[in-house]
Symmetry: C2
């Protein structure tokens, strides 16, 4: 393996920027995280429970809709592992998510809910730095450690 | 892109062998699909709804348990797309699954059920050919095309 710690740091930073952009609800910032140009067509995104979306435009549209419908979201990443070979980096992590759950903008009925998603994020090395090429997030449906938190 | 059609064919074949091995319930055959040796530690597998499993041994153990509890399973792959860069291949596909659903080996209560999973399969080029390095399967929970098939 010829993985440099600088590359690992750069990929970890690019990954953190993905989640920071979603937390900020900033589509322009999110757009800079994703691969573009010659890679735009082959971009793939799977949101938890969704089918695959292909192509940069379709992927960014989906995030715009998700962010427009999310009043508050925060990610706590755990189990972050990075493997780099050549110009491809595969990062896997668990997204521990805190989000607001409300209906019809009625803030009085809004509350916080937690969730756990596991993600595979594949980055490509480009002249502009590491860019996200594939994101696959999926819900963890089975409790992993007898952790059965429940409200009401 | 320097992707050769031979490489794409070889990756597509390795991917087909993954599902053929599971259909056959053949753990030895499945073990040959997965990366080994220096890559064994970094192998990752996400079964639908599961957290990440890491390392070749843990991953193969999980498949042994799943196959021991699956009397019949058949995969119809659609939307297979392969992207290769250097020694890494990213294959995405939809697994249209037909499986037996029964309880306690009571064959009279067993019936077939369908399901849809989307998968990201990352392969590495090794001296022995393309080997599976990461498998991430996740359930498609939302209907994608107004297809709301329901039995009883």
């Amino acid at each position: 393996m010829t993985t440099s710690s600088e590359d690992v740091d750069a990929v970890t930073e690019a990954n953190a920027e993905l989640y920071a952009a979603v937390e900020a609800g900033d589509l322009d910032r999110l757009a800079r995280v994703w691969a573009a140009d010659t890679l735009a067509e082959s971009v793939v995104c799977v949101h938890p429970g969704w089918p695959q979306l292909r192509g940069r435009d379709e992927v960014l549209r989906s995030w715009a809709v998700i962010m427009a419908n999310t009043a508050y979201i925060q990610f706590f990443l755990t189990e972050v592992e990075v493997e780099i070979t050549g110009d491809v980096a595969v990062l896997t992590c668990a997204e521990n998510i805190l989000t607001s759950v409300g209906e019809d903008d009625d803030s009085t009925s809004s509350r916080l809910a937690g969730g756990r998603v596991v993600a595979t994020n594949v980055f490509r090395r480009t002249p502009e730095g590491w860019r996200l090429w594939l994101h696959h997030g999926s819900p963890v449906l089975a409790p992993s450690e007898g952790d059965d938190e429940q409200d009401d």
